[in-house]
């Protein structure tokens, strides 16, 4: 059976060029970068080359890049690192304050929730129906105690690209540090940390055809971060641990490739993305696009379908060889639907019927045609099974109907 991978927001395959670059660092150049001998120097030089490759892609300086194990670790280091360094400096009687958004990745949201337990105050900004943070509300939320704004560059579910340059301008004017989680946008849309006025920016390798288990954090020169991994003082003392040389080499090479191909990849994927969006929303009854029609990642198409549930849709598509993703609760370890979809104003039933298709550079137009042929059949089949399809009951009416049935059932005592 034909297999089509449309879940590149989850992870990407390692590019051949990246793998080729990495392989010698497992067997031939296996030195520890901290060693003084030639083996160590080879490893050290490889790290510095990768640092430059990443810095080039985001228009930063080499010394402003710190390697980590993942985007999640980068987010943790940025937010906790800034928080712990600044906590004692805050004189506002209301306490230290962080501003973030309701649609951040759990790596940011859970870190903020953890900091709330440590005495920090966190403002979770709402978003509009497209997923945009309201910049005016953000500005009004800044208080004397606000030391950090952490807003993602692009949303991992619905693909909306946030107005980070505008937010960065405000952060700079108000002397607040800005961190942005750019894990989804890195390598897909141009990033200029200077134009963004970003002080910290998180990236990950495996979303851009690099290996899993390696990430990086941009820290603007002069920004003070408290480390939370202590040891041998690697990465300017900010992240002790013997470096994952092959992984770092892979991240560097993936960044270099992304830089070379960023425009052509974006143009190609935008074409496929828009074909998916146009055909699905036009040809599948009661299907809708989530996120902004144009201010979105070039590879992200996110839909919702009335009357069906996302996990069933993902598994049905998998049966046809198509790998996709959903924000439905049933596919996750929690039984709550995606916080992002609820935050953009969808009700729980609408959020359950979601489907994320994320493209990669290896996807072809023929594959998209296959998806467009298969998807309507799959949706139709699931709708035939669904008691919600064709019944024009609103959510509130369903709640009342079910409550009534439950009462009726409880009233009847089985003998």
């Amino acid at each position: 059976m034909k297999r089509i991978y449309l879940d590149h927001a989850a992870t990407t395959p390692i590019a051949q060029e990246v793998l080729k670059e990495m392989l010698p660092y497992f067997t031939e150049f296996y030195g520890n970068a901290s060693s003084l001998h030639s083996f160590g120097r080879e490893a050290h030089n490889a790290i510095e080359k990768a640092r430059a490759q990443i810095a080039n892609l985001i228009k930063a300086k080499e010394e402003e890049i710190i390697f980590t194990s993942s985007g999640t670790e980068s987010d943790n280091l940025a937010i906790k690192g800034i928080a712990y360094r600044h906590k004692e400096l805050i004189t506002d009687f209301e306490g230290p304050h962080i501003i973030t958004s309701a649609i951040e990745h759990p790596a940011v949201l859970e870190t903020c929730k953890y900091l709330e337990q440590q005495g920090f105050r966190v403002k979770y900004l709402p978003v509009d129906k497209y997923g945009f943070v309201n910049v005016e509300e953000l500005e009004n939320s800044i208080s004397k105690g606000t030391f950090l704004i952490t807003i993602m560059h692009a949303n991992n579910e619905i693909g909306t690209i946030e107005p980070i340059e505008e937010i960065g301008k405000i952060a700079k004017e108000r002397d607040v540090i800005l961190h942005t989680d750019a894990v989804q946008s890195f390598g897909k849309v141009p990033i200029d940390v200077g134009k963004m006025n970003a002080d910290l920016l998180s990236v990950s390798a495996h979303k851009i055809y690099g290996p899993k288990g390696v990430g990086a954090l941009y820290i603007k020169r002069g920004v003070q971060v408290e480390p939370f991994i202590h040891g041998g003082g690697h990465e300017r003392g900010l992240r002790s641990s013997t470096e994952n040389i092959a992984g770092i080499v892979g991240l560097g090479k993936a960044a270099e490739l992304a830089q070379q191909r960023i425009e052509s990849d974006a143009a190609y994927m935008t074409k496929l993305r828009d074909k998916l969006i146009k055909n699905i929303t036009e040809n599948v009854e009661e299907s809708y696009l989530n996120g902004h029609p144009t201010k979105r990642l070039p590879n992200n198409a996110h839909f919702r379908f009335t009357g069906i549930e996302g996990e069933s849709l993902v598994l049905s598509l998998d049966e046809k060889g198509i790998a996709s993703s959903t924000g439905s609760a049933c596919s996750s370890k929690k039984l709550e639907p995606s916080h992002v979809l609820l935050a953009i104003g969808l009700n729980e039933v609408e959020a359950h019927g979601s489907l994320r298709l994320t493209l990669g550079r290896e996807n072809t137009e023929e594959e998209i045609d296959y998806v467009l042929g298969v998807l309507p059949e799959v949706v139709e089949r699931l709708r035939k099974i669904s008691p919600l399809w064709g019944k024009k009951l609103e959510l509130e009416e369903w709640k009342k109907k079910l409550e009534k049935e439950e009462r009726k059932s409880k009233e009847i005592e089985l003998r």
């Binding site: 049933c330 039984l335 035939k384 079910l402 049935e405 009726k408």
Partner: protein, 124 residues
């Protein structure tokens, strides 16, 4: 995550659809949580003569609905009321712990449909 048996019931659910003029209907679940089942029954001589279902939900919800219709068909009402969530899960060669509520829902749906039938017959 799911057994092959469960996936088979998800791919090809048995007794899917609605019955015309059912003797009893049970709708359970909560669309907010992502699961909603309607079980329809026809009863003859105190036995479930025909049974169908419609389900909005995940693969486990669809498969457990399909399985309960298989397990209940032809049984007396008393026998059908005794079907447990564990039996449904076992018949599907297991369910992930987080999905056990789906088999509970299927058993509950059948129970509500039988109660509906009994209430209509004035047996309460």
């Amino acid at each position: 995550m799911y057994s092959e048996k469960l996936m088979e019931h998800f791919r090809n659910p048995h007794n899917m659809g609605e019955l015309e003029n059912p003797d009893g209907v049970g709708t359970v679940g909560n669309p907010i949580c992502g699961d909603l089942m309607s079980i329809y029954i026809k009863v003859k001589d105190n036995k479930i003569e025909d049974i169908k279902f419609k389900t909005f939900g995940c693969a486990a919800a669809i498969a457990t609905s399909s399985m309960i219709t298989e397990l209940a068909k032809g049984k007396t009402l008393e026998e059908a009321l005794k079907i447990t969530k564990e039996e449904i899960a076992d018949a599907l060669e297991g369910l992930p712990p987080i999905k056990m509520h789906c088999s509970n829902l299927a058993a509950e749906g059948l129970k509500v449909a039988i109660k509906d039938y009994l209430a209509k017959k004035g047996k309460y």
